[in-house]
Symmetry: C2
Subunit: 209 residues, 2 copies
DNA sequence: CCTACCGATCGGTAGG
DNA sequence: CCTACCGATCGGTAGG
């Protein structure tokens, strides 16, 4: 499955996938502007001009990585929330899938969160809109919980920002051979989110139940 | 006070401070590799070679920004914790000053957290060591609280990573003309941290008291 | 997939 | 603080 930095052998040639994969690794490590196309080519053991058989431009490579990931994040969210019925379960699920993605796709997460400013229009606006939608949706859940009386009265935007960004940071320190499995981390972060939202309340459901 | 992007006038000339300040603004916006020295010079309305009267190199500019900030973060932490006597108050204070710094110095925070990989040795190792020390110190407080029975039994490293990174993210969205003052944000994040550490326990002190 | 090559721009230096 | 200039490297194209 993993073709990253595997040197080509026999008649195997570079592909759209392998170029994207090598770019992902290098963009994540050095940043978009810190990565030269010659480095991507070198990782694939081909010459720089040959890359253009598998991509349109360096910018196009970035756009593809960021837009694909951003759309997946939004789809993750929609599906996770749709399967739950209570606000608490929806938030737990939304944070779970978001945290999980950052542990299982740390390279994509690094690039999305560091190199968005390097995107050109109209891709930049498209991505910012998807992120805004995601953040507002989570914030809406927190606001709903506050209105329902199950969460503390507090600025919902601070909760949603803090929750999303603590998930993003997983990509900075997660290692596949580390102490925790992605699912453990995701579960724990789901709990963190609920604790932050609940505030000084107890774990139990609102007084009516 | 604020000299950023103020054009020079009369006999006023560029200074070490103004070069550092212009670099800070541009590094924060476009990243270290995404910023050209010619852009810094343009912001100061001088020619690129003239920058070298006020700096040693582009790399030196980055090193100065990152090391100064990293040392200040560690000093903030030491002073904040030294003034408190309980674990809860120490964590609250440590998170308060860290969050506050990210709201009051968003440019420094952006650069430190995005362009560390662009540092050369030995600066890179020095900065990583300071950050490691900070993270381990906060983690130690969480572990102490767990041992004392005031916090949930849980992986202390997940708590400390999540807390620190949610503070870092303040630099991404904070705007001086926004809804919340830095002190309000910092206070709220201090509470978030304690809620995460406490887990399903109530706010009250351990059973003994 | 390659070699050969393009103009542009990079960080930085010489010398005043 | 400037002009003039350096070698290196950038993303990308021509043409096969």
């Amino acid at each position: 499955m993993r073709r990253t930095s595997r040197p080509r052998s026999e008649r195997e040639t570079a592909s759209v996938y392998s170029v994207r994969d090598a770019a992902l690794t290098l963009f994540a490590r050095r940043g978009f502007h810190g990565t030269a196309l010659s480095e991507i080519a070198e990782a694939l053991q081909i010459r720089t001009p040959s890359l253009y058989n598998h991509m349109t431009s360096k910018q196009g490579l970035l756009a593809e990585i960021v837009t694909t990931t951003s759309h997946q994040v939004w789809e993750d969210y929609r599906h996770a929330v749709a399967e739950q019925s209570t606000i608490e379960d929806q938030i737990r699920a939304a944070v779970y899938v978001y945290a999980l993605r950052h542990a299982t796709h740390p390279r994509e997460a690094m690039v999305v969160n560091r190199d968005i400013a390097a995107l050109e229009e109209p891709t930049l606006s498209e991505v910012l809109e998807l992120r805004r939608r995601h953040e507002h949706a989570l914030r809406g859940l927190v606001e709903q919980g506050i209105d329902d009386g199950i969460f503390d009265r507090q600025p919902a935007s601070l909760v949603s920002f803090a929750v999303l960004e603590m998930c993003v940071s997983i990509a900075r320190w997660y290692r596949p051979d580390g102490e925790f499995a992605p699912e453990e981390i995701a579960r724990q972060y789901g709990e963190f989110a609920l604790r932050m939202a609940r505030g000084d309340r107890t774990t139990s459901r609102p007084s009516g139940l």
